[in-house]
């Protein structure tokens, strides 16, 4: 395996290669900004022959996500038919997998990674949007994020967790940023990766 195989294309203008195992976060305002982030992210994943799993939540539903992908030139029907792309609403996804939390969910993703590799994919690319979280669940979810940060390190998984700005005040931004490898930020037309300590 070459050194280049440890990296993959992020898909967002301004950010080129990202390492497998990276666990990124991003803060968005509204549905359009969310779609503008995730559609090119998954388009790059499909180009890189990764299995892409988009777990949706409001404001962008599983019904609306394919349209966002078509806008960036993805042949959604073919990707869905081949199993390269899976788009599921969070309620369906978690219902299908039981009421899993913490380590169980991390293990579920590791099993998905193994399946993707066994099916001939280069890796697994996933996203989760957490607008469904109730404030009382925040501490548990932050535990899960910390666990994921450890569990995915060195794996062939690329993760982007999206948080609504309206859900996050200053303390929550610090909670989230400290549990991810880096923060994706869009200061202008291009994107940049922010890491602690600059």
């Amino acid at each position: 395996m070459t050194a280049a195989a440890h990296f993959t294309d992020c898909g967002l203008p301004g950010v080129r290669q990202i390492p497998y195992g990276v666990h990124m976060c991003s803060f968005y305002d509204g549905r359009e900004e969310l779609a503008a982030t995730l559609a090119p992210y998954f388009a790059a994943g499909l180009r890189n022959r990764e299995r892409c799993i988009w777990v949706t939540a409001p404001p962008l539903s599983a019904d609306a996500a394919p349209a966002a992908l078509r806008c960036v030139g993805v042949d959604v029907d073919a990707a869905l038919a081949s199993g390269a792309l899976v788009v599921r609403d969070f309620s369906d996804w978690y219902a299908a997998n039981g009421s899993l939390r913490g380590k169980d969910v991390a293990n579920l993703w590791l099993a998905e990674e193994a399946r993707a590799l066994a099916d001939g994919h280069e890796g697994l690319r996933i996203t989760g949007n957490v607008t469904f979280l109730a404030p009382r669940d925040w501490p548990h979810f932050m535990e899960y994020e910390a666990l994921i940060e450890q569990a995915f390190h060195g794996r062939r998984i690329v993760t982007l967790c999206t948080y609504s700005r309206h859900q996050c005040s200053g303390a929550e931004i610090l909670d989230v940023a400290s549990r991810h490898s880096c923060t994706l930020d869009r200061p202008d037309e291009g994107w940049q990766l922010l890491t602690a300590g600059g």
């Binding site: 390492p19 990276v22 666990h23 803060f27 925040w138 501490p139 932050m142 535990e143 994020e145 910390a146 940060e149 390190h153 700005r165 005040s169 200053g170 303390a171 929550e172 931004i173 610090l174 909670d175 940023a177 400290s178 549990r179 490898s181 880096c182 923060t183 930020d185 200061p187 940049q192 990766l193 922010l194 890491t195 602690a196 300590g197 600059g198």
Partner: protein
């Protein structure tokens, strides 16, 4: 990016878990403005240690030790039995200060010698040693701020030799900008910081204050916050946010603290009602 993957996340749980089962070789700091919070936290730290078969040394002012003893009683700890077994020892910090100072300043050699004398016998009396103290707070209050910081570094070194976990209490007003330089220096010589009795309450007050004074954290502020190097100690994100604000937006810091004090007090009033 790799270095960041090893960073410590801001804790989201209460100080009770941390003080109940502190990670090995930790040096914990409590910021307090209410003696009742001090008494409850230290009693919890001591009670959990005693329950695990550890030896506990408490070095505080007579008033604080009295509060801690009362709180230990409330937790059902048989203090007399623990003292008879030699697993619980209480010492008066004010009596100890002259023994570790020369000309009113911390004497490093004397401090280390006294600390070793105190910890050595405890090592064989329990499965591990827990030590709570307020020597640095006492030195700081007495005007020896540098000695206070020195004592922390020295205590850390000695405690490591004895495998002891140290817990310190430092009196301060977390909503007073004037005290932040000292508070920040004190935090930086500890591994974990407990800034408040109720983390959720502090978070709510700080978030609301920042929103009022600064507005939404986006653009360059989000960049600054997301890429902030942090404090090199573990502390809840609400307190970390205040330290970041002091660095990033010093012109707004006083106003944010004033609003945070207001909101924190409002919650007090709501609870009282």
């Amino acid at each position: 990016m790799r270095a960041l993957m090893q960073k410590r996340p801001y804790p989201v749980h209460s100080w009770r878990e941390l003080l109940g089962a502190p990670p090995a070789a930790t040096h914990l700091l409590q910021l307090y403005d209410d003696p009742a919070f001090l008494g409850n936290a230290v009693a919890h730290f001591a009670a959990e240690g005693l329950a695990l078969g550890e030896a506990v040394l408490l070095t505080g002012t007579p008033a604080h030790l009295a509060g801690i003893q009362a709180a230990l009683g409330g937790l059902g700890v048989d203090r007399g039995a623990a003292e008879r077994q030699g697993r619980l020892e209480l010492r008066d910090v004010q009596a100890a200060v002259p023994a570790v100072c020369t000309a009113g300043r911390l004497d490093r050699e004397r401090f280390v010698a006294r600390t070793r004398e105190a910890l050595e016998p405890l090592r064989s009396r329990g499965t591990a040693v827990r030590w709570w103290g307020e020597m640095s707070n006492t030195l700081h209050a007495g005007g020896d701020a540098e000695g206070a910081l020195d004592s922390e570094a020295l205590a850390n070194g000695v405690a490591r030799d004895y495998g002891a976990t140290i817990f310190c209490s430092f009196e301060c007003d977390r909503f007073d900008a004037g005290g932040y330089a000292a508070m920040e220096r004190m935090c930086r010589v500890h591994s974990h910081v407990i800034p408040a009795d109720d983390y959720a309450r502090l978070r709510l007050a700080v978030n609301r204050a920042v929103a009022d004074v600064v507005g939404e954290l986006r653009g360059s502020l989000l960049q600054s916050l997301s890429s902030w190097k942090g404090m090199a100690c573990e502390l809840p994100s609400s307190q970390a946010l205040l330290f970041w604000l002091r660095e990033a937006l010093p012109e707004s810091f006083d106003a944010v603290l004033a609003r945070a004090r207001f909101y924190h007090g409002q919650q007090d009033a709501a609870q009282a009602a």
